[in-house]
């Protein structure tokens, strides 16, 4: 299974981002060409300041590129306006952030149902999807709790459920384990592996090589440029799956 054989989910052409810091232009991303196929699990790594987060924000339309093109499901999207991007995100993109970013006032259940509702599901469908996801993530009994009563690991699992609630074609995860202890990291990564096996396309940003090694393909960034893009061929691991992955990871 190589990327070329798959239909392309997202493609960037010479993507660049320059921040203005006072009068000084600071390039964060420089000429990134990337093509990610359906069902791929791509890790974007690099030291801090290498532009990984900026890249993934641009892929999700949270940040506007300064130059280059972004194609999502065969459609050019970098020219979209903010609101058009928002509408696109409802249907096609799920986000997981480092600091979980659950809506503080809403219960776990509401947080998870929200993207499904936005994507156009009926309340009943959204509820069913939420129950399924929370059950799969072992959070059913916490569904009425406010996020503030949850541990970091639990919050991140809820965030993952929320990101998957609208059945996105692309899941973007920005340092999802950056704020978790090793046990919770393991749990979250196991979950990511599981959804990937179900065919979910994932782009994961991390600076930890250990986390990146879970992916099919690792893209390394340095100073905003791709310095390495390689597929890790470990078919054995994928076919077995389960807890074995984690054991090997440690």
């Amino acid at each position: 299974m190589t990327p070329k054989q798959l239909s392309t989910v997202i493609k960037t052409v010479n993507l660049g981002k320059i921040y203005q810091q006072g009068a000084v232009p600071v390039p964060a991303v420089r000429g990134v060409d990337l093509e990610i196929g359906a069902g791929e699990f791509v890790a974007v790594t690099g030291p801090s300041g290498s532009g990984k987060s900026t890249l993934v924000h641009m892929l999700g339309g949270l940040d506007k590129p300064s130059s280059g093109e972004i194609w999502l499901d065969g459609r050019r999207v970098d020219t979209l306006r903010e609101s058009a991007w928002a509408l696109l995100r409802r249907k096609k993109i799920g986000f997981v952030f480092q600091f979980f970013n659950l809506v503080a006032n809403m219960t776990v259940a509401d947080n998870v149902e929200l993207p499904a509702l936005l994507a156009g599901s009926s309340p009943k469908e959204a509820r069913a999807r939420r129950e399924y996801l929370l059950d799969a993530l072992g959070l059913t009994e916490r569904s009425d709790a406010p996020p503030s009563q949850l541990s970091g690991g639990e919050q991140q699992r809820v965030a993952l459920a929320r990101a998957l609630s609208n059945r996105p074609s692309l899941l973007l995860a920005d340092e999802p384990t950056g704020n978790l202890d090793s046990r919770n990291t393991r749990d979250v990564l196991r979950l990511l592996g599981e959804v990937h096996r179900d065919g979910q396309t994932i782009v994961l940003v991390t600076h930890e090589a250990r986390v990146a090694s879970l992916a099919d393909r690792v893209v390394s960034l340095l100073d905003g440029q791709v310095i390495d893009d390689g597929t890790i061929a470990v078919p054995r691991r994928r076919s077995r799956g389960g807890a074995g992955d984690v054991v090997e990871l440690r």
């Binding site: 987060s53 924000h57 999700g60 339309g61 949270l62 940040d63 903010e82 609101s83 928002a86 509408l87 696109l88 995100r89 409802r90 249907k91 993109i93 986000f95 952030f97 480092q98 600091f99 970013n101 659950l102 809506v103 503080a104 006032n105 809403m106 219960t107 509401d110 149902e113 929200l114 993207p115 509702l117 936005l118 994507a119 156009g120 599901s121 309340p123 929320r162 609208n166 920005d174 704020n179």
Partner: protein, 759 residues
């Protein structure tokens, strides 16, 4: 649809999370709308009982009191007159009740109520031939005198004979104002009864009412009537005077409320903008998350508008209901009609618009939140404020220095908080000023033109005896002979009350605000109302006719005049011709300070063997007592508004310092010091706001109260600033309450173990 569902979820969750704040917002808006509705109702003509009464009674626009029965046909033939009531015979009698004596006009009306100007019976029944002793009493007079159905109505005619009649009914009329503002009291009896009480036709007058097709033509008709009847006319009153006398209290109250309402609305708009703005700032992370989930800028803004706007609209709705309710209470279910739909709609729409505008700006800002939730909120610019440098210089504790530094890091919110506290505080100070003015009315009546505490009428005693008795009383410092007469105003179209009191050599101690007191014959002082009515200024001469004698008076000063809308002309009794001046109708007695007027009254009554009539002067503040209730209610509403501002300020402070808290603790600050830092941050702003508000209020309050005095005819010069102690207490209470409110979240934050930085 999908957005609506998602937004509804979020709004529901957010409201649930801040029930108290939401309730506060609704209450504040509701309070303001209530004040506005009530004030508009009180100000509007329709609440003036006159209009309702005039319609119900098919009233007459002009009432003429003449010596002999005038020819109604001649008056009816005047152009513009559509109907005539009367002429009715009316005799002056004195009602004796519980040792008090009150002048009453006993008027003869037929058994069948007339078509025009028929009194409407509120209790009991109309006159009946089967009960010749039955009288129907005008309602305000009955109420003031404590007369009920069946009460004995003992009257003394001019010839001294006593007649015991009984109250058969209580009715209302639009032909004269309410007792005691309008005297004498009015009672109706059958012609047969009146003939028995006062057989001498010469001692009674004839009263005739004219109904006009165009009320604006009153002046012309009155001139026509004056030409026709000439010498026989004793007194003329028009519907305008009746209406004005009925509306006095409402008007003053309405003005006060309107002032509070409008400024309150501004304060509420600021508070709402501040509260929503603060809320939006503290929630910017959530908005970023929502946008990353796919909400557009417009949808976030719409969501905020709906949430906060609907709170405001709920407040408007609640206010409309409360307003109706309060109005009903305030009008005592009386003859007032409810506020007409136009002003109600205007207030509702206006307030709603103000609320929405106040909400729109922060909502727009919320919509513009960048969608990257990971980005930390804009860190406050951390330069050391001047306050902090000063605090450092005087070696204040670190918590204070840090708090003072934080207070001004965000300029706009700091300004909004200060302003948001200052405006309600200013209004509260003005309210206290009104309170102090009322207190001053009561404690120093001499400063509002009521030097005399007692009025003595000689009754059956000769004037010399009365004077001797008064002079002999140890509690009386001074007494001034006086007579109240009706002066026909220059154009002879209506009468103004004229008060001859004191003498040029020994003038009555009026409170002269402009010009000087009268000191010679032919000089007079007037209230603001009279100056406005006659359109004259100090120094002008007016020509009036008193009892047929022309009198030219020069107005030399304006006095504070609490009676009769200030439409009173006062001069020395020696300015009158002797036939009008002697004997004096009454004596005004100034009681020694510290002596109870009631004591003097009892003593005088005893000394004269109940022959003197001694009455206490009614203080205008007693009628305005309801203003105190209004002031208290408004202070509560304003305090709510200030509180809402404060909660925002402290929430914002917490948010800005969330990142610092961990650092502060790491630096070695105890939880208590951390809390102190947070409290100082809001406290500094509150203190500045409160002090500014009090200073502004204190400097404005006199001007505003005097303006109200001017409009109500009493005249400027009545205002008293609240005492320094009161202001100090107000400042301390406000600051103390503010600090307490700020302390609760601060303590919670300081104790929290979770690093608040990562929410």
């Amino acid at each position: 649809m999908s957005t609506v569902r998602a937004s509804a979820r979020w709004i529901k969750a957010d409201l649930r999370a801040r029930r108290g704040q939401a309730l506060l917002a609704v209450l504040a808006v509701a309070g303001i709308v209530t004040a506005l509705i009530t004030s508009a109702t009180l100000l509007e003509d329709s609440t003036n009982p006159w209009r309702g009464l005039f319609t119900q009674t098919d009233g007459a626009h002009v009432w003429i009191h003449a010596k002999q029965s005038p020819d109604p046909a001649g008056l009816a033939a005047l152009p513009g007159v559509t109907g005539v009531a009367g002429p009715y015979r009316s005799a002056p009698v004195t009602l004796a009740q519980d040792g008090r004596k009150a002048p009453v006009a006993l008027r003869a009306l037929p058994v069948d109520p007339p078509e025009i100007a028929h009194p409407v019976v509120r209790e009991g029944r109309w006159l009946d031939r089967a009960d010749l002793d039955g009288v129907v009493v005008e309602r305000s007079f009955a109420r003031a005198s404590g007369l009920r159905l069946g009460s004995p109505f003992t009257v003394t005619a001019l010839n001294g004979t006593r007649h015991v009649l009984a109250v058969a009914g209580i009715a209302e009329t639009a032909e004269q104002g309410f007792y005691p503002e309008w005297t004498p009291g009015l009672a109706w009896a059958l012609p047969e009864t009146l003939d028995r009480v006062e057989p001498a036709v010469g001692l009674s007058e004839s009263v005739i009412g004219l109904r006009l097709d165009d009320p604006e033509a009153t002046r012309l008709v009155v001139q026509g009537a004056v030409t026709l009847l000439d010498e026989r006319i004793q007194r003329i009153s028009t519907w305008r005077e009746v209406r004005a006398s009925m509306e006095l209290d409402n008007r003053l109250l309405g003005l006060l409320l309107a002032l509070f309402g409008v400024v309150g609305l501004i304060a509420a708009a600021l508070a709402i903008a501040n509260v929503v703005g603060g809320r939006v700032l503290t929630q910017s992370r959530d908005f970023a998350t929502l946008k990353s989930l796919g909400l557009t800028r417009g949808q976030v803004m719409g969501m905020l508008l709906v949430e906060h706007g609907s709170l405001g609209l709920a407040g408007v709705g609640a206010g409309l209901v409360c307003g109706q309710f309060v109005t009903m209470l305030a009008l005592d279910g009386g003859a007032g009609l409810p506020l007409s739909p136009m002003p109600t709609a205007a207030i509702a729409v206006g307030t709603a618009a103000v609320v929405l505008v106040a909400v729109a700006l922060p909502a727009w800002r919320g919509g513009r939140t960048p969608p990257i939730p990971a980005a930390p909120a804009m860190p406050p610019r951390g330069h050391l404020s001047r306050m902090a440098r000063l605090a450092l210089l005087v070696r204040l504790p670190p918590a204070l220095v840090l708090g003072a530094r934080d207070a001004f890091t965000r300029r706009l919110p700091a300004f909004l908080t200060t302003f948001g506290v200052a405006v309600p505080m200013m209004m509260i100070t003005i309210g206290l000023g009104c309170w102090a003015t009322l207190d001053n009315f009561l404690s120093h009546p001499e400063q509002v033109g009521q030097a005399a505490a007692l009025t003595v009428k000689p009754g059956r005693l000769p004037a010399s005896d009365a004077e001797r008795l008064i002079r002999a009383d140890p509690g009386v410092t001074a007494f001034y002979p006086g007579t109240e007469v009706d002066a026909l105003e220059p154009e002879q179209t209506r009468t103004v009350p004229a008060r001859a009191i004191g003498t040029s050599a020994e003038p009555y101690p009026f409170v002269v605000v402009d010009g000087r007191g009268y000191a010679e014959r032919g000089e007079a002082v007037a209230g603001q109302g009279l100056l406005d009515l006659l359109e004259v200024e100090i120094g002008d001469r007016v020509r009036v006719t008193v009892g047929g004698t022309p009198l030219i008076l020069r107005i030399v000063g304006r006095v504070v005049e609490p009676d009769k809308d200030g439409e009173v002309l006062s001069f020395g009794i020696d300015s009158l011709s002797a036939k009008d001046a002697l004997p004096p109708e009454f004596y005004s007695l100034v009681v020694k300070p510290g002596v109870d007027a009631e004591e003097v009254r009892t003593r005088l009554l005893a000394a004269s063997g109940q022959n003197l009539e001694v009455a206490r002067v009614v203080n205008p503040a007693e009628r305005l007592a309801v203003i105190r209730v209004v002031i208290v209610a408004l202070v509560v509403v304003l305090a709510l508004i200030g509180l809402a501002n404060l909660l925002t300020a402290s929430a914002l402070g917490l948010r800005d310092h969330a990142l610092d808290l961990a650092v502060l603790k790491a630096m070695g600050l105890t939880p208590r010091q951390v809390a102190a830092t947070l409290v100082t941050g809001t406290g500094v702003l509150v203190v500045i706001g409160v002090v500014t508000g009090v200073l502004a209020g204190a400097s404005l309050s006199n001007g505003i109260i005097n303006l109200q005095g001017h409009t109500s005819g009493v005249g400027a010069g009545i205002a008293r600033a609240p005492s320094a102690v009161t202001l100090l207490v107000a400042v301390l209470v406000a600051v103390g309450a503010a600090l307490l409110v700020a302390l609760i979240p601060a303590r919670r934050a300081a104790r929290a173990r979770v690093p608040v930085a990562i929410r």
